[in-house]
């Protein structure tokens, strides 16, 4: 199950959807809005996506994971819109026969998601400024 949503992520439902008696292991990863980033204080994040391409890229990631590990089920949900501290921005759930595979596939999926899926976050700092996060791009000029 691959989806983008503007609502709270139901990671419990997502995890249940990947469980099965063929799989001895389930790994769930949750990304949540963290207050401190390199010493600066965040009050909220805004996530924007390019939904049609994001879904294509997420399906490609699922296929890549399946080609490397004997993954049984994959569930990925990414939230878009305005997120407060502690909110869940992304949930990745995988099931596989053995735990090593589930950990590796889960880590692969979130690592790759972060570099290839067209979604962007904008920091809302506690000094009132906002700033798009674009890795590798000079961040000195606040938007």
């Amino acid at each position: 199950m691959i989806s983008l949503t503007h609502d709270s992520i139901d990671y419990h439902g997502l995890t249940e959807s990947v469980r099965s008696s063929q799989s001895g292991a389930v790994v769930l990863f949750l990304g949540t809005v963290r207050e401190l980033t390199r010493g600066r204080r965040t009050v909220a994040l805004d996530y924007e996506g390019y939904p049609q391409m994001a879904e294509v890229k997420l399906r490609e990631l699922e296929a890549a994971a399946r080609s490397r590990w004997p993954v049984e089920h994959v569930g990925i949900v990414h939230r878009l819109g305005h997120l407060e501290l502690g909110d869940i921005s992304v949930a990745v759930a995988v099931s596989s026969p053995h735990r090593q595979q589930a950990f590796e596939a889960g880590k692969f999926l979130i690592d790759e998601l972060k570099v290839s899926v067209p979604i962007w976050k904008k920091e809302n700092w506690d000094d009132g400024t906002t700033e798009w996060v674009h890795p590798g791009v000079e961040m000195s000029r606040p938007d």
């Binding site: 924007e48 390019y50 391409m53 890229k57 992304v90 962007w120 938007d143």
Partner: protein, 80 residues
Amino acid sequence: MLSVKLFARARDLAGSPIIQIPWSDGLTVASLKQRLGELHPAVLPLVPRLLVAVNNDYAGDSTIVKVTDEVACFPPVSGG
């Protein structure tokens, strides 16, 4: 005219989520980035790091773009 979607800081700098670029057959992604910078100078500082997607896949500078393609430009992603 080629329709190009913009996202995140690229959209903010251009001031629009979609722009039109005069286009003719045979032009490449490299031309697209150059014209984008000329038409929207505010985006210029971002151009060297801009990613271009054609029909929902990343495209390199030498990829030829047709006016009927679904095209988007955006800075490095930061989801997750």
